[in-house]
Amino acid sequence: MSFEIPEDRRYLETHEWAHHEDGTVRVGITDFAQDELGDVVFVELPEVGDEVTADEAFGVIESIKAVSDLYAPISGTVTGRNEELFDRPELVNEDPFGDGWMLGLDPDDPDDLDDLMDPDEYGDQIE
């Protein structure tokens, strides 16, 4: 089975992605992660204005069969969250890199993104 790994973003070992666009870093989980979880039925996210810390849990995602923590790829302040997921958590399965996004962050230091895995490295990890 092959999974989508967009070239335009960075990845965390725990299967979150981070995408830098216009000063904001968007965060979500990967195609591989949504497939492993199965049907996503619940997402718990921090409030706008909350601080998140790199490699620490910022929220929770539940599928029918499992509960998993969500980890922040970088440290920053929450500037937006995808509230659409509260009513339609299945968007994470349907479009993990697009409509299934989770957080928008104002990064403490955008250069922190360079410490994350690039698409090739992440691809090797899930092989």
């Binding site: 539940e62 599928s63 029918i64």
Partner: protein
């Protein structure tokens, strides 16, 4: 320790199944998605490989007495071609397992302990046979028999066609008969663990592939089996009761109807006392009123925050579209409509005690 494998393990893997360790067995947990499989069973039909379930055969002149004295229901007079659901209890009336007991057409017994319980149950039967000096043969046939469940509104027609036996549609609930499917002799019973109509088939290990192929419907894993049984309010041995971690009597587990106190069995005296006094705690259904999914192990409290119990099973219900759960609470909190709280990651969330047969809501 290496995991035991069902006969069609490699075939399931080739079909794209994900696997899980359940009761010491490597079993398919998901073929497509839990939701897809669950919906197939509620709307049309699904087939489950449940070969991890145990099979123990008991025969001989002492078999009826041996069975009777180790089960909460009396089965000595069970008619040939009939089955019954009951519990296996210890001297304290604590449930060791629950099981379905079949009376074969030949008169011998076949019963189905849960996954991973076959060896200890076999030993329990042999020990008591010897202690009571009964003439009975006890055989653990768990790795001689495969077991499939075909469940859903279309299941009866599918199996009847595969067996070329239209009469199967007339088989009553908890009835069992022998039929040939794809050249393989199967015990076919009108039983299941999903809240739907359907059959369970017990068949020779070597015939598993032929029978699986002859019944064309959605393959389902243990993930969907769990959401289906939970919606129907059915207990999962080892999770909703466990002799070590969560010792429960059948009365606490709300299956008091499966206890026949008029026959002698291990645990009867203790259970008679519980029946007369009433249990202190009882399993109930829980309907969350706030966002969040109660899961096994989460604490149940009163509105004021006093701990009163623990969730034993919980999930998002694919059929109902909201979370459902079961757990034990003191009987004074067990009445339907009682407001309680379930603590989800530190936050007490409102929940209402409801009938655990969630499908009937």
């Amino acid at each position: 320790m290496s995991l035991r494998q069902p006969p069609l393990r490699d075939r399931h893997e080739a079909a794209g199944a994900q696997f899980t360790d359940f009761g010491g067995w490597e079993m398919p947990v998901e073929f497509d998605s839990v939701r897809t499989e669950h919906e197939a069973v509620r709307e049309s039909a699904g087939i489950f490989d449940v070969s991890h379930m145990g099979e123990i055969e008991v025969s001989g002149p002492g078999a009826p007495e041996l069975m009777d004295r180790l089960l909460t229901d009396s089965v000595a007079d069970l008619d040939r071609g009939r089955a019954t659901y009951c519990a296996i209890t210890d001297e304290d009336g604590v449930m060791l397992d629950d099981t379905v007991v079949y009376r074969r057409p030949s008169g011998e017994f076949l019963f189905v302990p849960n996954a991973g319980h076959d060896a200890e149950t076999d030993e329990r039967w042999v020990d008591h046979r010897d202690r009571w000096d009964l003439m009975a043969t006890v055989e653990n046939r768990t790795e001689d028999y495969a077991m499939f469940a075909v469940q859903g509104p279309d299941a009866v027609e599918l199996v009847a066609e595969a067996a070329d036996a239209p009469d199967l549609a007339e088989l009553s609930r908890f009835g069992a008969t022998d039929e040939t499917v794809a050249g393989v002799e199967c015990q076919v019973s009108r039983t299941g663990y999903t809240g739907e109509d359907g059959f369970e088939l017990i068949l020779p290990w070597d015939g598993a592939g032929a029978v699986w192929d002859a019944i064309d419907c959605q393959p389902c894993g243990l993930g969907a089996r769990d959401t289906l049984r939970l919606e129907a309010g059915l207990l999962l041995s080892g999770q909703d009761f466990h002799p070590g971690d969560n010792p429960r009597t059948p009365y606490e587990a709300d299956i008091g109807w499966s206890v026949d106190l008029d026959h002698e069995f291990v645990g009867r005296d203790a259970l008679r006392a519980v029946d007369e006094a009433g249990p202190d705690e009882r399993i109930v259904g829980l309907r969350p009123e706030e966002r969040g999914i109660p899961r096994s192990g989460y604490t149940i409290t009163t509105e004021e925050g006093e701990e009163i119990g623990e969730v034993t099973s919980g999930t998002m219900s694919p059929t109902l579209g909201h979370p459902i759960a079961m757990g034990y609470v003191p009987v004074e909190y067990a009445e339907e409509g009682t407001d309680v709280r379930v603590v989800i990651r530190g936050d007490p969330k409102k929940a209402t005690v409801v009938d655990k047969r969630f499908l009937d809501e």
